[in-house]
C-alpha cells in the first residue's frame, strides 16, 4: 500500500473531481455516435427520461433516452418494454452529478426503433456461424433416436395450439405412452431461460427418451427466444435427442440447427419423436410371427415326409430287385437250355484237351522217376566196384588168366600173379619162403 501511495504522488494532479467529471463528460460525448441492437430489459421512467439496459449474451450497456426523443421515435404503444428487440442510435454520455445528484454513466439514445427482420437475421447469421464453427450443429445429430420411446418430454406453451397438434401427431402413430409436459413461456425475454431449464429437467429424467420443443408460427422477433445462444448451447450439449418444431416451414431458428431433428410442425415433430407407426408395427410383427410358425412347421413337416418316403424306400427297392432277379432267373434258364448241347460238346473238347495235357504231364513224371532210380542204382553199383577198393590202397591179385587169386594156396599154385593197384598193375612172383603161417 505504501508503494501505491508513492505512485499517487508521482501522477499529475490532484485535480478537483468536479472538473475531472466535466472533462470526462466532454470526452465521452466526443466519441463516435453509433447504432446498437439488443434486447431491452429493466425499463423504468422518470418525469423526463426512460432508462433501460440493452443486452445480449455477451454483455449489456445502461441506456437513457429523453421522453421527447422517445415520443419522436413513434414506437407502438408499449414498444419500449422488457424483452423487446430494438435498435438505438446515440453515443456514450456521463452525468457528473453535483450537489445531491449522483453521477452516472449511460448510453444516451436519441433514436430508437424496434429491431427489424434484417437486424435479427444479421444477428442470427453471426450466431449461426459461431455455433457451427464450434461444431455444435453436429452433436445432437450423432445421437441414436429410439424408434419406440415409452416416454417423451415436450416443452411448449401450456395453452398453445402446438400442444393439441402434437397429441394429434402421436395419435396418428397409434402411440399411447407417457408424455411429460415441461410447460414454459415461448415468447418474451423470460422464454429462453425457462425453455432451457425445462429441457434440462426433462433430460435429467432417465425415463425420458426424446424431447420435443415446439411452438406455433410468428415473426422472427416472436421466435427470437429460440435463437437464444445459451438455450442453443444447452440443447447442443444434451445427451437426449431434441426434436424442434418452432414456427412454420419457412421459419428457421437457431434451435433448429442444433437439434437432432428440425420439423416444420408439431405434428411432424410427434412423428419424429416416435418414428415407428405402432399400428403398422403390430401388423409387421404378426406377419413375422406367422412366418416363423410356417418355417418351424414346414421344417419339421417336410423333413417328416422325407423320412417317411425314405422309410418306404427299402421295401420298394427290394420289390424292384426281386422282380429283376426273377426275370434274370427265367432268362438264365432259357439260355442254359438253349446252349446245353453246345456246352457239353465244348466241355468234351475241353476235357480231351485237358486229359491229353495231363497224360503228357504224367509221362514226363514217370521218365523222371526212372532216371532217378537209375541214378541211385548207379551210385550203389559204383560203391561195389573193385576200383573203389583199390582207390583206398588195396591191391587185387590176378592169375595169368586174369582171374582173381583169392587165397595163398592159389597164389602159390599160380607161382606168379599180377598185382593190380589203382594206378596200374605190376607182376609179382610168389615166394613161398617168406610166407607166414
Amino acid at each position: 500500500m505504501r508503494g501505491s501511495l508513492g505512485c499517487v504522488e508521482e501522477l499529475p494532479g490532484p485535480f478537483p473531481v468536479g472538473r475531472y467529471a466535466r472533462k470526462l463528460q466532454e470526452e465521452l460525448r466526443r466519441r463516435a455516435r453509433v447504432r446498437l441492437v439488443g434486447e431491452v430489459t429493466g425499463v423504468s421512467r422518470s418525469k423526463v427520461q426512460a432508462y433501460f439496459e440493452l443486452r445480449d449474451a455477451e454483455g449489456a450497456v445502461p441506456c437513457a433516452i429523453w421522453l421527447d426523443d422517445l415520443e419522436k421515435a413513434g414506437l407502438p404503444a408499449g414498444g419500449l418494454r422488457d424483452g423487446a428487440e430494438v435498435v438505438i442510435g446515440g453515443g456514450p454520455d456521463y452525468y457528473p452529478g453535483g450537489g445531491q445528484a449522483s453521477p452516472s454513466f449511460a448510453f444516451r439514445a436519441t433514436q430508437v426503433r424496434l429491431a427489424g427482420e434484417g437486424d435479427l437475421l444479421a444477428r442470427l447469421d453471426a450466431l449461426r456461424k459461431q455455433l457451427r464453427s464450434e461444431g455444435l450443429f453436429e452433436l445432437q445429430k450423432q445421437l441414436a433416436r429410439p424408434r419406440l420411446p415409452k416416454t417423451i418430454g415436450v416443452v411448449t406453451a401450456e395453452s398453445g395450439a402446438a400442444r393439441r397438434d402434437l397429441l394429434a401427431g402421436l395419435q396418428r402413430r397409434s402411440w399411447a405412452g407417457t408424455v411429460v409436459w415441461g410447460f414454459a413461456p415461448v415468447q418474451d425475454r423470460r422464454a429462453a431461460p425457462a425453455i432451457a431449464a425445462a429441457i434440462q429437467e426433462l433430460a435429467a429424467t432417465p425415463a425420458v427418451e426424446a424431447i420435443v420443443v415446439t411452438r406455433g408460427g410468428g415473426s422472427l422477433a416472436d421466435l427470437w427466444a429460440f435463437c437464444d445462444e445459451t438455450l442453443c448451447r444447452t440443447v447442443a450439449m444434451l445427451r437426449v435427442p431434441v426434436i424442434s418444431a418452432v414456427g412454420h416451414e419457412r421459419d428457421s431458428t437457431l434451435i433448429d440447427d442444433v437439434a437432432a431433428v428440425a420439423c416444420s410442425t408439431p405434428t411432424h415433430a410427434a412423428e419424429a419423436a416416435v418414428p415407428l407407426d405402432c399400428g403398422a408395427a403390430r401388423g409387421d410383427l404378426e406377419r413375422g410371427a406367422a412366418a416363423l410358425r410356417r418355417a418351424g412347421e414346414g421344417a419339421v413337416g417336410s423333413r417328416s415326409r422325407h423320412l417317411v418316403a425314405l422309410a418306404r424306400g427299402p421295401a420298394r427297392a427290394l420289390r424292384r430287385e426281386r422282380i429283376a432277379l426273377n426275370q434274370k432267373t427265367r432268362e438264365i434258364r432259357a439260355s442254359s437250355e438253349r446252349g446245353l448241347a453246345e456246352r457239353r460238346a465244348f466241355q468234351r473238347r475241353l476235357a480231351s484237351v485237358v486229359l491229353s495235357r495231363a497224360a503228357r504231364r504224367a509221362a514226363g513224371a514217370e521218365a523222371n522217376s526212372r532216371r532217378e532210380a537209375l541214378r541211385r542204382a548207379e551210385v550203389a553199383f559204383r560203391a561195389h566196384e573193385p576200383e573203389r577198393t583199390l582207390e583206398r590202397g588195396y591191391a587185387l591179385a590176378e592169375d595169368a588168366a586174369g582171374e582173381p587169386v583169392t587165397s595163398a594156396a592159389a597164389a602159390i599154385a599160380a607161382g606168379r600173379v599180377k598185382l593190380r593197384f589203382a594206378d596200374r598193375a605190376v607182376g609179382a612172383d610168389i615166394d613161398t619162403d617168406g610166407s607166414e603161417r
Binding site: 419406440l148 408424455v179 429424467t205 405402432c278 408395427a281 410371427a289 416363423l292 418355417a295
Partner: protein, 78 residues
C-alpha cells in the same frame, strides 16, 4: 429368453435377419428350430414393448413426474 434385446429396433432387426435366413431355405433342421425359438422370443418381447405404448396415453407435468418418481421406491430401499 436367452438374452434380452437392447432395444425394440435391435429386436426387430434380428427378427428380420432370422426370417431372411429361414426364407433362404439354407438352414438345417437344428438351426431352423433354434431360429424359430429365438424368433418367437423376439416376437414376445416386441409385442410387450408395443403393448407398453398402447394402453392409453398418460400425461404428466414435470413436477408430477418428480413426485411420482419420489413415490417409487428405488431397488435399494426396503
Amino acid at each position: 429368453m436367452s438374452e434380452k434385446p437392447e432395444s425394440y429396433e435391435a429386436a426387430v432387426e434380428r427378427l428380420e435377419q432370422i426370417i431372411d435366413r429361414l426364407d433362404s431355405g439354407q438352414a438345417g433342421l437344428r438351426e431352423t428350430l433354434d431360429l424359430c425359438r429365438e424368433g418367437r422370443e423376439l416376437v414376445t418381447y416386441c409385442s410387450a414393448e408395443l403393448d407398453a405404448v398402447s394402453e392409453g396415453l398418460e400425461e404428466l407435468r414435470l413436477d408430477e413426474l418428480a413426485a411420482k418418481l419420489e413415490a417409487t421406491p428405488t431397488p435399494n430401499e426396503n
